[in-house]
């Protein structure tokens, strides 16, 4: 890293390359692969913490934690088990568990980072409660490698639920599905996940429970759904159902647009999806949705996708629509971030300048061309 800064060699930290997101631009001079930084340095089972290098696949780390009935409560789509912990954290990716366990920013307790002037710095700590120093772990989470390379991170772990059960509601009216989602989100239940799926004018609401009594909580959720007017069923063998939700966040053929909205905007999101002819999975209680658009392939496809994305942004304004999975030629055509402007962006630029003064870390991929 120090050599790159000194020689002005642009670099891109890279795990297994499962998330080609961000602005399309010139390839960097160098990719720094984290393949060999793939150790689970510590698993402190008694303290429910672990220290990881970035290159370890999340699935591999989870397998170790599972031996102690523990988990890192991060369940983004894993792209064939290949996604690395570093990639997930650097991109701020998340999955359905976010409803209860929040996201990477909330689970990473500390980081060790290598900056482009050769400095290696740590921030945060190895304990779950710490307020000493600035919380740089949050700054680096979701920073897409633009501030340096995360070489080590400490994470908080949670007990792995011994079992699970899911209440599933069905509706073909966006308002009805959203009303049921809102009722469950406000109910005095501890849902681990609360998701929706929508496509072709119909959808489902999924509320998943873990803990000691998942069945009883799922039954209570089922009643909440029925009371708000949707048909519902209880599914105990629910793993595949949730795998589908996670996978719905990614697309190899189509275009994925992530919408940062509010829970009450769910009907508008679902109608926008119908209008655009796509499908969507969403975290109903969080206001986050991943819309997959499938249009014609080839050059006409790019024009079509540009139009479809513009249409979504127009319909869902003021909520930010970020383009994730998309062919490079499309990412070159559009502003993938729907980026912030004004003083906040100025401040982000100043942060970038301080941490990467020579602008060699993954330049150009982030918001505002950072």
């Amino acid at each position: 890293m120090g050599a790159c800064g000194r020689d002005r060699t642009t670099l891109r930290p890279c795990g297994h390359g499962t998330k080609a997101w961000g602005r399309a631009g010139d390839d960097p001079d160098l990719e720094i692969g984290t393949d060999k930084l793939d150790s689970l340095i510590e698993h402190n089972a008694g303290d429910f913490t672990a220290v990881l290098q970035p290159g370890i696949p999340l699935a591999a780390a989870q397998a170790v934690f599972a031996e102690s009935d523990q988990m890192l409560a991060l369940d983004p789509p894993l792209a064939g088990e290949r996604a690395t912990v570093g990639g997930v954290v650097a991109s701020g990716d998340s999955g359905p568990l976010r409803h209860n366990f929040k996201s990477a920013r909330d689970l990473v307790l500390g980081v060790k980072v290598a900056l482009s002037d050769g400095i290696v710095a740590t921030a945060g700590s190895r304990v779950i409660k710490n307020v000493a120093g600035y919380d740089l772990a949050k700054l680096y989470t979701g920073s897409f490698g633009t501030l340096g390379l995360i070489v080590e991170m400490t994470v908080r772990l949670h007990p792995r639920p011994p079992g699970s059960a899911t209440a599933v509601g069905h509706a073909s009216d966006p308002e009805a599905l959203a009303a049921a989602a809102s009722a469950v989100a406000h109910a005095r239940l501890e849902s681990n996940s609360l998701d929706v799926f929508w496509g072709d004018g119909a959808g489902r609401l999924l509320a998943r429970y873990g803990g000691a009594e998942p069945g009883l909580q799922a039954e209570a959720a089922l009643r909440v759904m029925e009371d708000s007017g949707v048909e519902a069923e209880l599914i105990e063998a629910d793993a595949e159902l949730w795998e589908r939700q996670r996978n719905g966040q990614r697309s190899t053929e189509g275009v994925v647009v992530k919408v940062s909205a509010l829970p009450a905007a769910l009907p508008a999101v679902l109608r926008a999806v119908d209008e655009a002819g796509g499908t969507v999975v969403g975290r109903a209680g969080m206001g986050l949705s991943w819309i997959t658009l499938s249009g014609p392939a080839g050059e006409g496809g790019t024009d079509w996708a540009v139009g479809a994305i513009d249409g979504l942004r127009h319909r869902l304004d003021p909520y930010v629509c970020t383009v994730l999975d998309a062919p490079a030629e499309l990412r070159a055509e559009i502003d993938v971030w729907g980026e912030p402007e004004g003083p906040a962006l100025d401040l982000m630029r100043r942060v970038k300048e301080r941490f990467d003064p020579h602008n060699v870390c993954n330049p150009g991929v982030f918001v505002g061309g950072i």
Partner: protein, 483 residues
């Protein structure tokens, strides 16, 4: 700009009656909850709106005068200690709840709103989880500054986990919106970077918090043990069984005695340790888990278990614990509070070391412990009237911090670094680590006017201003040096 000119401008901005300059009136503001440190500001300005905050900060910037923001002044690390001859900006007049958006589980509040008033505004069906012990008086602005936790943070998390957006005035008077009501807005997580920055990056003038549904059921017990080791093992067993208690608190014999004397909550004064466990969640879940917890207490030879039959009994159990710091006055003339954190599994080892240190220094140490997250509050008891005892107590306090850091922990879990713990920062962070912190600081506050002299052990300036050398106001005040 002269001192009189700046005060005149502040009066124009917030009104004559909201600028405090009389030395007697200034005394109220000379320290925060940690009264050990005192400093007299030049003036206190009490703005009523975000616009006034912005103008006050800009006036200070133009006058090259450093400032410190203050909420309710309950902080325990001297974070709101004024800068001598600087301006103190008190946010206690900004108490408006601007928006309650139940549908989206958000609230928008001004910084002076108290922590408890947030939950009150959406109760009883919803609540705001972070609950520092001072929640009735402490302000959400102060909570942002310190990233406050509370008794229930093991399960629910800290301030940073419940704030989605901020409006912030930077030290040059720029107003900037970070995050929003929505999650995952593109860009760096500057909300996350700002929370816990102890007032050194700017002033939050508008705060968007996430609220959550109240749990269906709450169950509380207190179990007594022969010693801290048995209580500690019980905590480990509970957590290992996959139970995430809403709160789990331990007190040693000295603490129990002090608290019982102060509150008459019914704790046996001869017990070696008391362990409070509170579970919340769905009724079915709580019932099953509560039985598991009772069983684990018994298996670790609990001498007695008392369960709260109703809310009044629960309050009584908590009354003793929450009185812990204040109650120390019953058994000691003076005391030092530490806020160190250890990996929970190191508890027995650290307590043994603390016993040795207590013998070595000839001073008693009482322990109250947020057992779930490893936040130890060792209280060093002393009598300041005895020659040299205060110094010995301070030295012992520093030794305790060192033991905790060596065990893999932190110098502070919730009180913040402020002025009080900045001397311990090098025990936890290397020079490159501190350099990385400084980069963030300089991105937000290149002038160094925002709460200078806090957090960093030896504050640095952010780079030379072009032109002839002039001493920086922060340098003049002896709060930083050039490198």
């Amino acid at each position: 700009m002269s001192s009189e000119d700046l005060i005149g401008r502040l009066k124009d901005i917030v009104g004559d009656e909201h600028v405090v300059t009389h030395p007697d009136a200034l005394r109220t503001y000379e320290s925060d909850g940690l009264t050990f440190y005192r400093a007299m500001p030049r003036a206190v300005a009490l703005p009523a709106t975000a616009d006034e905050v912005q103008k006050v900060v800009r006036a200070c910037f133009e006058a090259k005068v450093p400032w410190v923001a203050r909420g309710s002044g309950t902080g325990l690390s001297g974070g709101a200690l004024p800068v001598e001859e600087g301006i103190l900006i008190a946010l206690t007049r900004m108490r408006a709840v601007l928006d309650i958006d139940l549908a989206n589980q958000r609230m928008v509040v001004e910084p002076g709103v108290t922590n408890a008033d947030i939950s009150k505004a959406v109760g009883p069906d919803h609540f705001y989880p972070p609950d520092p012990s001072s929640q009735i008086v402490c302000s959400i602005g102060g909570n942002i500054s310190e990233n406050s936790g509370g008794a229930h943070c093991f399960k629910y998390g800290f301030t940073t986990n419940y704030v989605t957006g901020l409006e912030v005035v930077l030290s040059d008077g720029t107003m900037v919106t970070l995050g929003g009501k929505e999650l995952d807005r593109p860009g760096y997580d500057l909300v996350g970077a700002f929370i816990g920055s102890e007032g050194t990056l700017g002033i939050a003038t508008k705060i968007i918090v996430r609220i959550v549904p109240s749990p269906e059921d709450v169950r509380t017990l207190v179990a007594y043990f022969e010693d801290m080791q048995h209580a500690g093992q019980t905590v480990s067993d509970i957590v290992a069984a996959g139970v995430v208690p809403a709160a789990i608190e331990m007190m040693d014999n000295l603490s129990v005695r002090a608290c019982e004397e102060a509150t008459h909550a019914g704790y046996p004064v001869d017990t070696g340790a008391a362990l409070i466990v509170e579970l919340d969640g769905s009724e079915a879940e709580c019932k099953t888990r509560f039985e598991d917890v009772m069983e684990l207490c018994k298996r670790n030879d609990a001498t007695d278990i008392r369960t709260a039959g109703d809310d009044a009994e629960r309050q009584l159990i908590w009354k003793a614990r929450k009185a812990a710091f204040a109650a120390m006055g019953r058994i000691a003339h003076d005391y030092y509070v530490q806020d160190s954190v250890i990996p929970r599994t190191k508890l027995a080892e650290v307590l043994n070391r603390l016993d040795d240190l207590s013998d070595e220094y000839g001073l008693r140490i009482a322990n109250v412990f947020h057992a779930g997250d490893g936040n130890l509050h060792p209280l060093v008891l002393y009598d300041g009237r005895n020659e040299g005892e205060a110094e010995r107590a301070e030295e012992l306090s520093g030794e305790i911090v060192k033991v905790c850091v060596d065990a893999g922990g932190s110098i502070t879990g919730e009180h913040g670094v402020g002025v009080d713990k900045k001397k311990y920062m090098p025990s936890m962070f290397s020079e490159p680590d501190l350099d990385a912190f400084q980069r963030l600081r300089c991105a937000f506050d290149p002038s160094g006017y925002a709460n200078p002299g806090k957090v960093m052990p030896t504050p640095r300036l952010c780079g030379e201003v072009p032109g002839p050398y002039r001493r920086h106001p922060v340098e003049k005040a002896g709060l930083a040096e050039r490198f």
